[in-house]
Amino acid sequence: MSEITPAVEIRHLVKDFKTSFKRQPLRAVDDVSIRIMPGEVYGLIGPNGSGKSTTMKALLGLVAPTLGQCAIFGKDSLKVDSRNEVGFLPENPYFYKHLSGKETLEFYGKLCGIRGAALKDRVTELLELVDLTGASHRRIGGYSKGMLQRIGLAQALIQQPRLVILDEPTAGVDPIGSREIRDLIFKLREQGITVFLCSHLLEQVQEVCDHVGIIFRGKMVKEGKLEDLIAIEDQTELILKDADPALIAEIEALVARDANAELISSGRPRTTLERLFLRETKIQDSMENLPK
């Protein structure tokens, strides 16, 4: 059986940038290797300036590696044909303000060689997917940050790529917009599309990714399956609903009787501020929309 071609293969990538004032070039990426298999959702995390965006740009052929190679589905990133299979959403994207959302998608579709009825259908489908059908005829100049991100995601998907690269997809977006983008990433995963995203919002990465890499000062410091990386091997979590205090006391007594086990904490789990915000705004929204 032949080996499956990785969706992304970055081998020993090094990228140096010339600096105006320093003689020593700035090393933005230092010997980074990443392998993403088809269907995986990979998150590259790291602080600002750690080399995340440069790695993505090298993968897209926007910057040339100083050393090492990048390939998309086995095709060299520096070759134009490698981009047939990839969609890219840059950080804080700005599209042509003079075009409407629909015209924007049509423009990118035509660049990918899609024409006629196929293009029309694809544009309609994507506008529905990103929930921008109502704003499709509005000029991009009047779009909110969240709408820009969503139209950006739609343009990335226009030619039905097998790999989608997202650079800080929720940067500057409010929690509702952020949730919508995350839901879209889940949909992509369900469709078997490989997603390579970078972010410094760790909670978001944890929620959507199955593989992560931690990059710091240009170097890959940790990489692997998310579950393996974050699991605490010697601990077990037990969450109960509507438990009687007597039952809890009984469990605690059982644990105390065991010579090896130790109860580390017990109490009411907390929701996240984000979940609270989403729940409250949803309740408020449904109350306002009640028939009077």
């Binding site: 134009v80 990118y108 660049l111 990918c112 030619q159």
Partner: protein, 309 residues
Amino acid sequence: MNPLPANAGIPDHIARITVIAFHAFTQLVRMKVFYFLAFFALILIASNFFNLPQHEGPEAAGLDVLRAIKSWSLGAMTLFSVVLSIVSTALLLPKDVEDRTLYTILAKPVPRLDYLAGKLLGVLLLIFVSLAIMDALMTGILHIRTNMVLADQMGFAKANNWTPEEITLLKKDILDLGPSASLQAAVFAVFLKATIIASLALFISTFSTSTLFTTIIAFLIYFIGHFQASARDAFLSQQAGMSDSIFAKIVTLLVALVFPDFELFNVIDAVIQGAILPLAILGKLVLIAILYAVFYILASWLIFAKKEF
């Protein structure tokens, strides 16, 4: 999920270039650049009321107005097309880089040469459409005015009992100053000149750090281009025996590449005076414009292909 069919081959390059060209054209149109046509209309109307002190006899009355309409119109066309070609080209590339729209375009299967060629063609399409509108306005006004002058002069000739031969000659002189194929060729020569300047501006913008730098350098080269041939010939004639040397030929070629010889386009002035623009000269101008455009696009591509974003 199967990817949609990807383009390959020359027809697909042409299709992609066309998409980018029409997009650049739309972008410039929506920047309301066509407002300058209102200024052109004003210039055209003003040229109708232009009257130089009459030094010639009454048989030449009105001919100055015909010359003025052509001179003012072609002058305005040259000015607008040069400004449009430099400013539009200097603006489009840096804007895409600043707005990061370039990332999303180059992340699609778009070769960088297609992108450059598309942007240039978009600017040229805008200039062509602008010139066509200005040309239609000029030709219309000139046609009406020529008929008016012709009617006046025929009345004058008949009142003074001119011979039929003299009348035919007068009629020819007037019609030569009216709309003609040579006048259309002169407008096309203005377009060719703009083509060279736009491709030059595209080349500069690939290594320039700002729109302002591109604009200033392009205008500078444009003005130098108007006297570079004379300056070169004067220099070579002073250096005895140098004009035939290989060194002189290389220097001449390099100077001609950096500073296109715009003196060649002075034939437009002769057309204003009623002269005919020979096809051979027009053909030469077409060839020169194509050569410069191809050279500058390829030079731009060499720089742009290695550019990192």
